[in-house]
């Protein structure tokens, strides 16, 4: 009984620390597909500095915690996107940036995937065509809120 209580006390306290750490160093993958990638670059560049949120763009999926799907996903690109998502280490999060990644947008055609949530678990949707860099920042802040509320998503309890 005592052993059980100990475990729980440690878990709840550690949850806070782990979530604090995770939410303040979200490293997204530079995964630019289309128009939204330009706004993603603008968000990371000098005028609207993304680094101040602890968001540093990484080029390798092995080093990334977050994938921002910025742009239209076609049927030719979808398997590659899925593989890159699988290459990322846990915990991993997905932001669907722009109308195309959320729902397919204006491109309701034979070659376009109608929303990236058909094959990836999307955490935050950022609408817009393309969304402003500020909108992307708001999306990342929303993801931070989500991470802070997470429980037991580490170690053997995952």
């Amino acid at each position: 009984m005592l052993h059980f209580i100990d475990k729980n006390i440690i878990v709840t306290t550690l949850d806070k620390i782990v979530n604090w750490g995770r939410s303040n160093s979200l490293w997204p993958l530079t995964f630019g597909l289309a128009c939204c990638a330009i706004e993603m670059m603008a968000a990371g560049a000098s005028h609207l500095d993304f680094d101040r949120f602890g968001v540093l763009f990484r080029a390798s999926p092995r080093q990334a915690d977050l994938i921002i799907v910025a742009g239209t996903v076609t049927y030719k690109m979808a398997p590659i996107l899925k593989r890159i998502y699988e290459q990322m280490g846990e915990p991993k999060y997905v932001i669907a940036m722009g109308s195309c990644a959320c729902t397919g947008g204006v491109f309701n055609t034979y070659s376009t995937v109608q929303g990236v949530d058909q094959f990836l678990p999307v955490d935050v949707y950022v609408p817009g065509c393309p969304p402003r860099p500020e909108a992307l920042m708001y999306g990342v802040l929303k993801l931070k809120e989500k991470i802070i509320k997470e429980q037991k998503r580490w170690g053997s309890w995952r």
């Binding site: 597909l33 289309a34 128009c35 670059m41 590659i80 204006v106 055609t109 034979y110």
Partner: protein
Amino acid sequence: MGKLEIEKLSDSNFILQMGPHHPATHGVLRLFCEFEGERVIKITPDIGYLHRGIEKLSETKTYPVAMTLTDRLDYISSMINNIGYCLAVERLLNIEPPPRAKFIRTVVSELTRLSSHLLWLATHALDIGAMTVFLYAFREREQILQFFEKICGARLTVSYPRIGGVRFDINSFVLDEIYKFMDTMLNRIDEYETLLTENRIWIARTKNIGVISAAEAVSLGLTGPALRASGVYYDVRKHMPYDAYNEVEFEVPLGENGDTYDRYLCRIREMRQSVFIVKQCIEKMPKGEIITDKAIDIDISPERKRLFVAEDSLWSGFIAFLDEKRELIPKGEIYSAVEAPKGELGFYIVSDGGGKPYRMRIRAPSFIHISAIPKLCEGHFLADVIAIIGTLDIVMGEADR
């Protein structure tokens, strides 16, 4: 001591797949690279990862609505895409925008050229390893995008020009701001040059890399700065003037060697010319209408709308573009080109008299420039392949459509 025998390492070549997800491919371009040692012997580009069916989709949209799709072609210079499309439809309809609209279009297209070249400079320098240029170039690019916001309310996908004019008038104080910014812009371009033009690393990475002769460039169909760096004098703004380009004075910068360094210099000089064009246009800006009476638009005034509404239509707001029986747009076909930052952007439209394009074919410069990659990369190192992709200024949205 006997002779030193050196064994041949291997007969087979090394094959590397680069992309489609790679931070330096400027979009979702895939390259099959075949190496002999460290030298490239063959490169095969694989495209189609961003094929969204824009050409087919535009056949289902009316003429004014199809313009929103041209924004997403070359998303870095959406204003020029819009203007290119509007010019093609205007030539089909045989209408002409009023003088003020022409000058406004010239101002915004040159601002777009500036922002597009800034993005090219930023990413090209970042690929080669100069991070500072990226931050400097984005500083000015944000300011240009803010001008677009002041003009039309959008940053990237603007849809600002209309068939027969432009949507909004530009306030005089915004014009003054742009004029003032152009002076700072000239200083900023000098600043970029101090970082790169005489930089030893930059010269080592770009001189004699990706050399293409004038004859080869013409036969491959290159246009824009990629062609002019080889010394060929061809600019749509000079040879087939549209909008207000025949009323302003500017030079067309030419290169000599046709290498990556010359293409860089060409674009930098072109940015200076763009600044001069914008200043001249603002000085000469005439007053008056911004859209012609014959314009077709989704948000036209009721008087004009009556022309396009079927008399017996129950819903008067429903424009009779969708009526296939009436000949709204003259039958025929048209090819019209504009000088986009990447090269000659052409729209070939076939009209069957209905309210929608029967066929819209886009001559995208990026698509043609990709076909030059195998030729340019021959015999270079892998690191130079990155420089060559950057120098051609490829946007996959336009290449795959």
